[in-house]
């Protein structure tokens, strides 16, 4: 035991030899590069991270992907029509305030997502709020921000989906945030095209299509507001070519909207 202790002690002493301060020239050289480098959006980073893992596992996932797609098609297009008893009840006319706990039930998470969707990554709090916004763009007012939750869903090499929601103190605050997030996707921000027909979700809603998030060339984003919640459902990738397609995205958005009512 003494020899063990002596060895540990020797190792500690030996490791104490060395620099304890970083020379400023190295830090300033790095900061010089930082000044010329844009931050990556969180969607881009998390998707790229997942894609790296996906690439290494791709040979094993081929067969699984076919099965998952078949189940997905069944769940999204066939299963919702089974046992449909009629129109859903009208939303309550009384404004209500969602809480942080509601986000877990509205955003598609590992606990509540349909079996046809896999949850690849989850993000919460202020970091999740900032995910759809351009790095270096105008700053969203967080005074009335309460919480946010985001998940990456069924990400593949050709695309994937995002379920996102941010909670604000009042419906008025959420309306301001909705306008901000919407504008950030349009000509004032990512430069996506706003569809003349929105998805008809929540109290107000918009749909954008086009390149964004510095990842895939074709994306669809539905953004809407329900009381003090701002929600978004996103399909990124080669929409209608890869796994991410418009119909499936709308099914995801409607599922989130139903849960928020």
């Amino acid at each position: 035991m003494n020899r063990e202790r002596d060895f540990d002690q020797t190792l500690r002493h030996w490791l104490e030899d060395g620099a304890d301060q970083a020379p400023e020239r190295f830090i300033w050289a790095a900061l010089d590069n930082v000044g010329r480098t844009a931050q990556r959006g969180a969607w881009q980073a998390s998707l790229e991270g997942f894609l790296m893992k996906f690439k290494s596992a791709a040979p094993y996932l081929g067969v699984a992907a076919v099965i998952v797609l078949a189940i997905a098609a069944y769940q999204v297009f066939v299963a919702p029509n089974i046992g449909n008893a009629g129109p859903s009840p009208s939303p309550s006319p009384t404004p209500r305030l969602f809480t942080s706990a509601d986000l877990q039930n509205i955003v598609l998470t590992g606990a509540n997502a349909p079996d046809s969707l896999t949850v690849d990554a989850t993000q919460s709090g202020a970091a999740a709020l900032l995910v759809p916004l351009r790095p270096g763009g105008p700053t969203i007012d967080q005074t009335a921000f309460v919480d946010a939750l985001m998940t990456n869903l069924s990400t593949t090499e050709t695309g994937g989906y995002v379920s996102w929601s941010a909670l604000f103190a009042t419906a008025g605050d959420a309306a301001v945030a909705f306008a901000f997030v919407s504008n950030e996707h349009g000509s004032g921000g990512w430069g996506m095209s706003r569809s003349s027909v929105g998805p008809g979700l929540g109290d107000e809603s918009v749909t954008y299509t086009g390149a964004a998030y510095e990842i895939f060339p074709r994306n669809i984003v539905h953004i809407w507001r329900v009381d003090n919640l701002v929600l978004a459902a996103v399909a990124v990738g080669d929409v209608a070519v890869g796994d991410a397609n418009a119909d499936r995205l709308l099914a995801i958005a409607q599922l989130m909207d139903d849960r928020a009512r």
């Binding site: 030996w14 490791l15 060395g18 970083a22 844009a38 931050q39 900032l130 790095p135 700053t139």
Partner: protein
Amino acid sequence: MDRSLVEQAQRGDREAFTRLAFELSDRLFAVAHRVLRDFDSAGDALQVTLLHIWRDLPSLRDPGLIEAWSHRILVRACHDQLRKQRRQAPALHLLAADGLVADPAISIADREQLDRAFRTLTGEQRAAIVLQYYRDLTLSEIAEVLQVPIGTVRSRLHYARRALRSAIEADARPTTRKGRTA
């Protein structure tokens, strides 16, 4: 670490990131220097790490985890530097442990043996040793930084310790081969 500083930097505030970089750099450089045993390589690893931290900061979910997260990036950068070092091995072997200040508590012979044995370790083993014996991280903290199971950390530490220890013990044994110095 000031959480709000991390959050400001996450939102693209370059001034906040400059302050954050100066707060993190000493600790990161100290680890890199010990893993790489080379001053300039440690500087290169630090620069790469700071740039990656800036670029990927928006994807950090919990600003409170900035230390572990930045060390994870640093270890990857050190790994890349080690690969470069190995490609340039003949030149680097001529260099002493650049910038290291000798601790009088260890004999010169032990220090040389440790240096030599440490250089034979893999990047992962070096990182595990430095994080445990220099940064005093627990096994689970090291596992978090290296993104491997605790069992893997244990195994890396075991093999690294064995290599380092046998280097010292071999040095303590009488000379058995002609020309070898004790």
